[in-house]
């Protein structure tokens, strides 16, 4: 690692003030610390959110859940509130990384990082979540901008994420056999406002909605409703792990499985 300064934030306001210029916020550090070790980033300072207890916790609200940004994946996976309101979200959290990673990694860190193969962005987009920051509330559709890019501005800190409860939802991912990251992950949610389908791991620009699937599933919420829908490989990643055509194929397979498993 290159050297950096370290500051433990005493409050969200404190963190927002410090996280400017070349400084970077660190939540659980499950992505940032490996990135620093590989010298892929060189922040002047790390501002640690680890001491901010008011960012930790899960509240059941209006049928959905609001999850504090510093809540770990392990806490989301085992939360009775999340399991009751959105079992698909608890299952998604239980499938991130490994147990030790889930004990440190946080939902706010994952969403802020917007890794194109991360799981949470798919849940946020499909469930129509709201990302609450130190400055404003941002809908998931407006939040994720591209590879590792979000609507967050300098000095803006995610404080919580609110998920409305769907009628039914499920997340299915096809893991890279070595890294276990999503080669393709599809989150399907049947909500009051219609069906929403979000795809992670596959897109050149990160998470995206699959509108043709949403239309077909809006007419009939069954895996077979997708049989006749074509998936274009344009705009999908092609790398040593999978071609764009293979990813296009997997999107449909995973979406059908998610629809059939939705509860």
């Amino acid at each position: 690692m290159y050297s950096f300064e370290y500051q433990k934030a005493g409050s969200v306001a404190d963190a927002a003030k410090a996280a400017t210029g070349e400084a970077k916020l660190v939540a659980g550090g499950m992505t940032l610390i490996p990135t620093l070790k590989l010298r892929l980033a060189q922040p002047s300072k790390l501002v640690d959110l680890g001491g901010l207890k008011d960012l930790v916790g899960i509240k059941a609200e209006g049928g959905g859940v609001t999850i504090g940004a510093m809540t770990t994946h392990a806490a989301v996976a085992s939360s009775a509130e999340v399991k009751k309101a959105i079992p698909a979200l608890a299952a998604l959290a239980a499938g991130i990384g490994d147990p030790a990673v889930r004990n440190r990694g946080t939902i706010g860190g994952s969403v802020a990082n917007n890794d194109p193969a991360a799981d949470y962005p798919a849940a946020c987009v499909a469930l129509g979540a709201t990302i609450v920051t130190s400055k404003r509330k941002i809908t998931a559709d407006d939040f994720f901008k591209g590879l590792f890019e979000t609507a967050l501005e300098e000095g803006e800190v995610i404080t919580a994420i609110s998920f409305p409860a769907p009628e039914k939802a499920a997340y299915m991912k096809f893991r890279n056999p070595a890294s276990r990251y999503a080669l393709v992950g599809v989150f399907v949610a049947k909500t009051k406002g219609g069906v929403r389908v979000a795809v992670t791991g596959a897109g050149e620009g990160g998470v995206f909605r699959k509108k043709s699937f949403e239309e077909a599933l809006g007419k009939s919420f069954a895996g077979s409703a997708l049989d006749g829908v074509k998936v274009d490989a344009k705009g999908l990643n092609s790398d040593i792990h999978a071609s764009a055509d293979y990813r296009a194929h997997l999107i449909k397979v995973m979406a059908k499985r998610a629809v059939d498993a939705a509860k």
Partner: protein, 155 residues
């Protein structure tokens, strides 16, 4: 710029000078001289460096020492009491849950965290839990047997 970190390790209050970039595993091994915690891959995958921080298993190669300020850390050296192995350590010995032994400290620390969360894990649950612990010798079979036996012994 070096700073001082203080924490409790295996029940003892410790402190030392670290750089902000010092990893928890470096602090444990190099500053405290507790070399039972291993560094295998150094990329958060292999789990040889697993310790407990405030009761939860973490990869100490992927946490800064500064992030553990004030925390309660348990390493493999803190398990045995009065020269008597922890039941999970004993189970690894009894069931030949190791060959070269390099991954063993992390395996044992992960296994104990599993049993904290799930007192009677099935073979499948044990194998799933070990996703973040890699062994290159025994092929896991005896490790899984050892953890099942260790869980029973811890009950």
């Amino acid at each position: 710029m070096p700073t001082t970190v203080s924490m409790t390790v295996n029940g003892k209050k410790v402190s030392g000078q670290v750089e902000p970039r010092t990893l928890l595993v470096q602090f444990i091994r190099e500053t405290l001289g507790l070399t039972g915690t291993h560094v295998g891959c150094d990329t958060s995958q292999c789990g040889a460096c697993v310790v407990h921080v405030d009761g939860k298993s973490v990869k100490s190669c992927t946490m800064l020492a500064a992030q553990a300020e004030g925390a309660n850390v348990l390493t493999i050296e803190g398990l045995a009491t009065d020269g008597k192995l922890h039941p999970m350590q004993e189970a690894f010995r009894e069931h030949h849950g190791l060959q070269c032994g390099f991954c063993t400290p992390g395996m044992v620390m992960s296994a104990i965290d599993l049993v904290k969360n799930n007192k009677n894990p099935s073979e499948h649950e044990i194998r799933e839990w070990l996703e973040g612990n890699i062994c290159r010798c025994t092929g896991y079979h005896n490790i899984v047997k050892a953890i099942a036996a260790g869980a029973k012994a811890m009950a």
